[in-house]
Structures are given as C-alpha cells and as structure tokens.
Symmetry: C2
Subunit: 198 residues, 2 copies
C-alpha cells in the first residue's frame, strides 16, 4: 500500500479506504479521514461536495481498481502461471498483511457492502462495480491459462468469494488458517479446469 505523495484529495480517498476497511463505514468519521490523511478539515467539503457518500464511493472504487491491478501484477510475477497459483498469490497478499500488520483491517469493499449497502444505494452500486472490476482481470487471466471461456467467470466468482469469506474468518480468529486452507483446497479444482497451459 504505497502512500503516494499526491495531493490532499487523493490522500483523503486513500485514507478513507484504510479507515473503512479497519473500522467500517459508519464508525469512520469525516474528521478522522482528514486527520489520517494529514489534510485540512476545511477541504472536505471542497473536494467532496457530495459529502460522505461521495467520499465512501470513491474509496470503494479506489479499492476495486487497486485489487484489479494487483491481479495483473500477480499474473506477471508468476513464473509458471496456473489458476491455483494465481489464487495462492491473491491469498498470500492477505496472509502477508495479516502476519506483518495484524488482523485489524479487512477488505474495504466488503465493509462498505456490509454496513452501508442497505442505506445508501450508490455505495452498493460502487461495491458491485468494484467486485465486477476485480473479477474481470481474474477471469481474463483464467482464460489465458487455458480455462474454457464459459467457466472463467464462474471460477473467478468462486475465487473472490472464497477469498473474501476467508478474510473475514481469519480476522475473527486472528489466524490465517482459513486463508491457507481455501488456497490449498481450491487449487486442484482450479488447476483441473485449465486444459493445458502455454
């Protein structure tokens, strides 16, 4: 999670995502976001005239783009790509974070869905878009590994579902066990769907 040296606006979006994935949306105040971003409180209204709703939606969208980009990077870094290994890399990102930074933070998109989706429909739509934008590169990577086109999208959904669920369980248990388990158990199924790799 590189802290970019961009302007205060981007820093606030980034900070909002960080605070949301740690404490949830409702528990994250706008004043907290400004403080976390070292941004002046007076700028909040200026950059986000749509209020908290806009800030949250942009944070969710940012998280979705981030996850999508990570998939492409994982794919590029795999010496011998396979669906199971891609999933293992996605899981490892989380086990690494949990083991080095603790279990305080989860996925911001999940947090937004769980505690804002019902009240604020635009945030629900942003979360849906984030999941879709994340699923797309995963499915594309699967087809590139020889997974038949009609199974790529379902398997991408399965991967993201299992990952997100395991993240929540791992946070509750303060143990990466659930994450390593789903990676191990799902690998044969995923690799079995790839006819042959390049």
């Amino acid at each position: 999670m590189a802290v970019s040296e961009r302007g205060p606006r981007e820093r606030m979006v980034f900070s909002a995502a960080q605070l949301i994935r740690r404490n949830g949306v409702t528990a994250t105040g706008m004043r907290d976001v400004a403080a976390h971003a070292d941004a002046p409180r007076g700028s909040l209204r200026h950059y986000f005239p749509g209020g908290k709703e806009q800030l949250v939606n942009e944070a969710v969208a940012w998280a979705g783009r981030y996850a999508a980009k990570r998939v492409d990077r994982f794919l590029a870094e795999l010496p011998e790509p396979s669906p199971g290994r891609l999933f293992a890399a996605m899981v490892r990102q989380w086990t690494d974070e949990f083991e080095t930074a603790g279990f305080a933070s989860g996925c911001p998109v999940v947090a937004a869905t769980v505690d804002w989706a019902d009240s604020t429909d635009s945030t629900r739509a942003a979360a849906a878009a984030a999941f879709a934008g994340w699923s797309r590169p995963v499915a594309r990577a699967l087809t590139g590994m020889g997974v038949p086109a009609e199974r790529a999208e379902p398997l991408a959904t399965l991967m993201i579902s299992a990952l997100e669920g395991a993240i929540v369980i791992a946070r509750a248990e303060r143990d990466v066990r659930a994450l390593t388990t789903v990676a191990r158990e799902l690998a044969p199924l995923l690799d079995g769907a790839a006819t042959r790799r390049a």
Copy 2:
C-alpha cells in the same frame, strides 16, 4: 426465522441480530433494538448490564447457534446426502431469503467481524466462536458422508468461506448469481472428497 414468543430479553437479542445483519453494528443503536423488539427501553440496562458490548456478543452467539442448528436440519432433510447437496442446501437458504425478502440483510457474524472486531475484542472472540460452532456440525456431516477425517474440517472452512463471500457479493450486486455459482462450481470438488456414502 421464527419470531419466538419468549421474554423481552430473548426478543432483544434476536432483534439485535436482525438489525446488525442489516445495518451493521455501529449503525445499530440500542434504542433501535428495544423498539424493534417491542421491549421497554428501560429494560436494556437491566438485562444487559454489560451494555452494547454484551448485547452484540449475545446476538453474535445466537447467530452462530442458529447457523449450526440449520446445518443439522439440512442434513436431516436431504434424501440422498452428499457434501455438494449439503452445500447447495446452505446456499439455497440464502437465495430463498434474498429472493423473498430482498437483499437488505447479510450474516450478523460477518457484520460484527467487519465493523466491531478491531475495537472490541470480546466481540471478535464471539465471532470466532460462532464460526467454530458453525463449522463443527458441517465437518461432522462431511465425515458422516464418507469424507476422510483430515479433510472434513478444511472443506467445512472452504464451504463457509465461499458461502460468506458469495453472500456479500450477492448483496452488492442485488443478484443471487454469486451464490448459485459457488454452489455449482464447488459441488464436484465436495462430492469428489466423499469416498462413498452409506
């Protein structure tokens, strides 16, 4: 979700779970809980001297027991039990709810983990216990279907992870697609782990 005619205390725990799974923990006020349970506000302190923390923890524990009991019921209702069919029944409970009651509510344990776990450790522990108490009957059911003992617990973790993740995605998308997808894609893997059924 049978509304039991029990005393106000149990009604409040039940209502807390309902409100939490819809709006999250932080957004659920104690006054809301009392109102939703048709319980007098003055009873809150009396029955839950530990305050909101105690109420939330009991709601999470209640949800965990509920989920565990459902697993046993699903198992008893399956004409020809198999791991894949048990998972399909667990998924169907959610597709049914979403299609009849809308996508407003998710899993209370997830909600508590996502937006309370970091600040209140007793709630995190309650969520971990709920997941464990839910996973146990699933694993037991799997062994009863011929799944080797050493694979039963990992597969139960995979099932619950995929289910919880798909619930979140389904809520975001307002579509049960993710749920039906994980049920379909996971069935061969689950059934393949059962050597032979009785």
